[in-house]
Amino acid sequence: MIEVSGINAFYGTSHILHDVDIHLPDEGRVAVVGRNGVGKSTLLKSIMNAGPKTQGEVRWNGESITRLPAYKRARLGLQLVPEDRRIYQHLTVLENIRMSEFASASGKPCMTADELVGHFPMIEPILTRLGGQISGGQQQMVAVARAIACRPRVLLLDEPTEGLAPAIVEQLVENVRGICDAEKTSLLLCEQNIWFARKTTDRVYVIDTGRIAFSGTWDEFDAHPEIKQQHLAV
């Protein structure tokens, strides 16, 4: 589905990602874990071509999309939920969600509000509220709901659990798994919450200061406790 090879990413002159390779198979669920500031968000933004300057190649179903602008990548079916959520404050929750119709991949109908509420019961009572008038946790739900509303092929989630109460994080596990099962969506998740990452994905990459330090299944990850020690302990 997505094949990232030899990506180097830069902000101005600072070199953030160094020759990163990531493979996200069709219907695969992959986590990228790492400490603060190691380049997780930069990786997702590089995949969307939204921000950092990048070198290297991003392939989509075998075809290079390295030169496509972000909005065209969105229209291919890539949806990024950024870490800062970025809900439009002047639009209602429903309007925020409706905006994703711009990214609807060729002819596939977007979800109706009812269908979406089926996945995220939490957003039902706030649909007509303005984006600026909902809580941080609600914003996170809306951000995910808005990303999946038009049935993307790949969901890129950037630290979705940040700032959520434990009970809501458990709820989010069910939401994310439910959506990926129902829509056959692939998932690339950046997280610091190992528990959440383990629950929602099959494979894991560990990233440290812009380089991939480990990749494998969660069982393999557990078999090497020193990886956690070396690259994730704070």
Binding site: M48, A50, G51, P69, A70, Y71, A74, R75, Q79, L80, P82, R86, Y88, Q89, H90, L91, E95, M99, S100, F102, A103, S104, R146
Partner: protein, 288 residues
């Protein structure tokens, strides 16, 4: 007194018509477009060529102004494609220099086509003269300008706040990155915004043509006033520009009565005052 207020409002609304497009393009592209006044002037010249020095009717004037808006809007698309698009990701200074260059070119072309001499156009028959409102004489053309300004304001507000396209334009101006992530064809929406901004300049040029002395420096006069207006109003805010236009109009009117030998100074004193009190403008936080 009433006469002074009506005069001030006329000035204010005339400036608002020009400033609206200037603040719109700032809201969406974050550029201060020095060429805006020049294109306002192009609109005025275009209309003068269409209707002559004595417009046959109000309708003809309005139709010509709309046509000029359309033409100047197309110029806007060209400027966007050829100039602004190339510098939009560069440093702000490049943007300023680029729009300044566009202004110089534009003024040069105006001189080549329409010459240097002053031209004046009288109001069409329907807008000539005036009425007595109690003891004061109110020129019909003043009423026309005020009505145009208020209508333009209401229409812009309605479009930007209520229509889906307006909401998307606002969304793009507030968070361009997210708009792209949602699949919005940002370059096309930029074109739309720039086209609208230039069209507003052209429209204003046409509507305000009568009673103006048309010369290649017309753009500069309005550009300065418009910049003052959008700075006082809060860059990017249509509502702010509207309020600021009225305020600065009133200040200018008061200036003309109280200190008739130093016209135009009041605006700058007002500008300095507002910058000290509200450096982000009256409605600085609230962008289009």
């Amino acid at each position: 007194m009433l006469f002074a207020i009506i005069n001030s409002l006329t000035t204010g609304m005339a400036v608002f018509l020009v400033a609206a497009g200037l603040t719109l393009i700032y809201g969406v592209m974050r550029i201060l477009n020095f060429a805006h006044g020049a294109f306002f002037m192009v609109g005025a010249y275009l209309v003068s060529s269409m209707v002559g020095q004595a417009p046959p009717s109000t309708l003809a004037l309005a139709a010509a102004a709309i046509l000029a808006a359309f033409i100047v809007g197309l110029f806007g698309l060209v400027v966007q494609r050829v100039v602004l698009k190339r510098v939009q990701d560069a440093d702000e200074h490049y943007m300023l220099i680029a729009t300044f260059a566009v202004m110089l070119i534009c003024v040069g072309v105006v001189k080549l086509i329409w010459g240097l001499e002053f031209l004046s156009v009288s109001p069409p028959p329907g807008l000539e003269g005036g009425n007595m409102l109690g003891p004061v004489f109110v020129p019909t053309f003043s009423i026309f300008v005020i009505v145009c300004g208020v209508l333009a304001f209401l229409l812009l507000e309605l479009l930007l706040q209520r229509s889906w396209a307006g909401k998307m334009l606002t969304a793009m101006s507030r968070d361009r990155l997210m708009a792209q992530l949602m699949g919005l064809n940002v370059p096309v929406w930029m074109m739309v915004a720039v086209g609208c901004s230039f069209a507003l300049a052209g429209l204003a040029g046409g509507l305000l043509l009568p009673n103006q002395t048309l010369s290649p420096v017309l753009g500069d006069q309005f550009l300065l006033m418009s910049f003052a207006t959008i700075i006082v109003g809060g860059l990017g805010s249509i509502r702010g520009a509207f309020l600021a236009a009225i305020l600065l109009g009133l200040i200018d009117g008061f200036n003309a009565i109280a200190f008739p030998n130093i016209p135009g100074v009041g605006i700058y004193i007002g500008l300095v005052f507002f910058l000290l009190v509200r450096p982000n403008g009256i409605l600085g936080e609230e962008q289009i």
